[in-house]
């Protein structure tokens, strides 16, 4: 039998304020298992501003500084500089942000930190919209998905911003995508990020039952289907060019199976689904090619 590698130690407690079936809450619990106790967080406005708990409570056993929406990376850079000056090189400084704070309002500070290669770990838990403010589209929202600002009659036409490519273009030493449905893989990637000096970027797909209009018990299934349909492939990129695909489905699951169980895609026609399938197929082919170039 395969030996489980996820540490038993918990750095997140019960009593947090996440919704039932929240992918972001599980993501934090798993990430902390990889990060360990010597970790400090900069968290901008996002679901986690609330999930952690209201003042004076906290569900994390590590220090956390709530910071302004667009400042996760810059705040973390400052913390890292302080840790270096105080001789605490052993502390992991983590910027922990949602997709809005990463893809949209926080991208400038993130790009700055990545270009400087500041020694921080940036983890984006991606629930594909502004969920904390009540489901408004972000640039991470997939095309055709319903949100309160992309009503069915006024859909999002453009694809999800390819932030992984943008981060790879910064030639940072390590970036990876992960899914909460693959906890071993997720924790392994977090540990790898800890072991590397420079800017590390982790992008984790985190289903959101209220925002995706799905049942809480479907969260893991959705996070798994996102990978198996190749909508959200799991891969790593070293130095911006060496791609390694971690999960290659022999026969990718048709996107219909993923889309049809989510209320946010309920209005999609067969043509819409074919269009998504075509886009996903092309992206997957492109990724396979990239992995061939310098990969293993």
């Amino acid at each position: 039998m395969k030996k489980l590698t996820i540490p038993y130690e918990e750095h997140m407690t019960s009593g947090h304020l996440a919704c039932q079936g929240c992918g972001a809450a599980l993501c934090m619990r798993l990430a902390l298992k990889g990060l360990g106790a010597k970790t400090m967080f900069a968290i901008p406005a996002c679901c986690w501003s609330v999930i952690d708990g209201p003042f004076p409570y906290s569900s994390l056993k590590v220090p956390l500084f709530h910071t302004a929406f667009e400042t996760a990376a810059a705040t973390a850079s400052g913390m890292r500089a302080a840790m270096e000056m105080l001789g605490r090189e052993d502390v992991n400084v983590v910027a922990w942000a949602g997709d809005g704070g990463t893809f949209d309002i926080g991208i400038q500070a993130l790009s700055g930190a990545a270009e400087r290669n500041d020694n921080i770990i940036y983890i984006c838990y991606d629930n594909e919209a502004y969920m904390n403010t009540g489901i408004q589209r972000s640039s991470a929202t997939p095309p055709k998905a319903w949100t309160t600002t992309t009503p069915v009659k006024f859909p999002k036409e453009r694809p999800k911003k390819n932030l992984d490519e943008i981060m790879a273009a910064h030639r940072i030493p390590y970036l990876a995508t992960a899914s909460i449905a693959y906890p071993e893989d997720l924790v392994k990637k977090v540990k790898k990020a800890v072991s590397i000096k420079g800017t590390k970027f982790l992008h984790v797909i985190c289903p959101c039952p209220p925002g995706w209009k799905t049942a809480p018990e479907m969260t893991i299934k959705l996070a798994k289907l996102a990978v198996q349909t190749c909508i959200f492939p799991l891969f790593e990129v070293e130095d911006g060019i060496r791609y390694k695909i971690n999960i290659k489905p022999k026969e990718p699951v048709p996107v219909r199976e993923y889309l049809s169980i989510q209320g946010r895609f309920r209005h999609l026609t067969d043509e819409d689904i074919d269009e998504v399938q075509e886009m996903v197929d092309k992206n997957w082919k492109l990724l396979l090619k990239k992995a061939e170039l310098f990969g293993e």
């Binding site: 900069a42 956390l64 990376a73 400052g78 500089a81």
Partner: protein
């Protein structure tokens, strides 16, 4: 030891002597030399600090916030548009009670593009909860950095040190350099008991409802009130250490003055000459310079102006629709006092227009010629 320094380098040298640990900054004219020199000092090892070369002023302040929250002494400098861009995070530094010190070179706001001085940029940040000091010469700039850390780290509020663009930032003056070991005795290392610490983990700034937020704001105001005494105490102690004493305000020949001119920054040092000249002519004129503007030194202003018949407040700034900001604040400080003086509010020198001794004389003479101000905003030197 004495050095000839430009105002901007006086800021940098003050930061070096204060042993700042993290600097995060972004270039903007006329501030740039402040961080250029610090960058060189970090590179050659004169200063043991991390310099984070951020991509914007917003990130500069955010990085200072992260550094200060994690226990390092943090410094930045900016000007005008850069300060305005920081606005959101200026509030953040105060709410998080972080004793960051920042230099701001007073530059007028665009559009149209301009790089010359006025005070609207710093005064637009008046209500963020940053302490503000306005400097009249380069010695004061250097001393203010050391003094600001000493005060800020006691009351846990940040301080903005304000310099006039060019009139101070780019003017070279002789500056007495305090000895490092003496500065080290005066200013001990930053040791914030509320810092982020993996060995004693806490959450900072978590969601706070109406049951708690109000008290946190009350505490900030209490700290501001306390800061007045701390500025006085530390300003006097600075005098004992280094021979230059500082107070909240600088009252010059005010005791028996009939007319007192109120100004901040370099205009105040020009006005001192005018006061002396007019005294020679037999006119009982005085000068009140505000050094610390936030916290506002109500008691000191009242006691300096309380016996005057007339007060002339000069503003190199404007709050559109309301007038000069120092004028409003001085008026509010004097309101309801017995024998309240007549107060004249003059707006002049916006966008770096020269304010010469003859202009200041004209402002003071206006008060002699009028029993009451003709209007709320008296414009002087405007070509209309």
């Amino acid at each position: 030891m004495r050095k000839v320094l430009m105002g901007n380098h006086a800021l940098s040298e003050g930061a070096v002597l204060s042993r700042v640990q993290v600097i995060a900054a972004y270039p903007i004219t006329p501030q740039t030399q402040v961080v250029e020199l610090l960058s060189e000092k970090c590179a050659d090892g004169t200063l043991n600090a991390k310099f984070v070369k951020v991509e914007s002023e917003h990130s500069a302040m955010a990085a200072c916030i992260g550094a200060s929250a994690a226990g390092a002494r943090a410094f930045t400098a900016t000007s005008a548009q850069g300060l305005a861009l920081m606005h959101e995070v200026l509030h953040w530094a105060v709410g998080a009670r972080l004793p960051i010190v920042m230099g701001n070179i007073n530059r007028a706001m665009a559009p149209p593009w301009t790089i010359w001085t006025d005070q609207t940029d710093s005064l637009a940040q008046r209500d963020t909860g940053w302490m503000q000091v306005y400097c009249q010469n380069n010695q004061e700039v250097l001393d203010a950095v050391i003094l600001s850390y000493k005060v800020s780290e006691q009351v846990l509020l940040p301080t903005m040190i304000v310099l006039d663009a060019f009139f101070l930032s780019h003017t070279y003056e002789v500056v007495e350099m305090p000895l490092q070991d003496k500065v080290d005795k005066y200013l001990p290392p930053y040791n914030n008991p509320y810092r982020m610490d993996v060995d004693d983990p806490h959450t900072f700034g978590g969601l706070t409802g109406p049951d708690w937020y109000f008290e946190l704001r009350y505490n900030i105001e209490q700290a501001m009130e306390e800061a007045k005494d701390v500025w006085k105490k530390e300003g006097a102690l600075y005098g004992e250490y280094f021979g230059r004493k500082y107070d909240l305000v600088d009252a010059y020949r005010c005791e028996d003055a009939e007319v007192i001119f109120v100004a901040v920054a370099t205009v105040a040092s020009t006005a001192r000459v005018v006061v002396d000249e007019m005294r020679k002519e037999g006119k009982k004129v005085g000068l009140l310079r505000l050094f610390v503007f936030r916290p506002f030194p109500y008691e000191d202003v009242r006691s300096a102006l309380g016996n005057a018949k007339k007060v002339v407040v000069m503003d190199r700034n404007i709050s559109f629709g309301a007038g000069g900001i120092f004028y409003q604040e001085v008026k509010s400080a004097m309101y309801g006092m017995k024998n309240e003086p007549v107060i004249f509010g003059i707006v002049s020198g916006l966008g770096g227009r020269d304010i010469t001794p003859s202009h200041i004389r004209e402002m003071i003479e206006y008060a002699y010629k009028h029993d009451e101000p003709e209007k709320d905003i008296i414009w002087m030197g405007v070509k209309v």
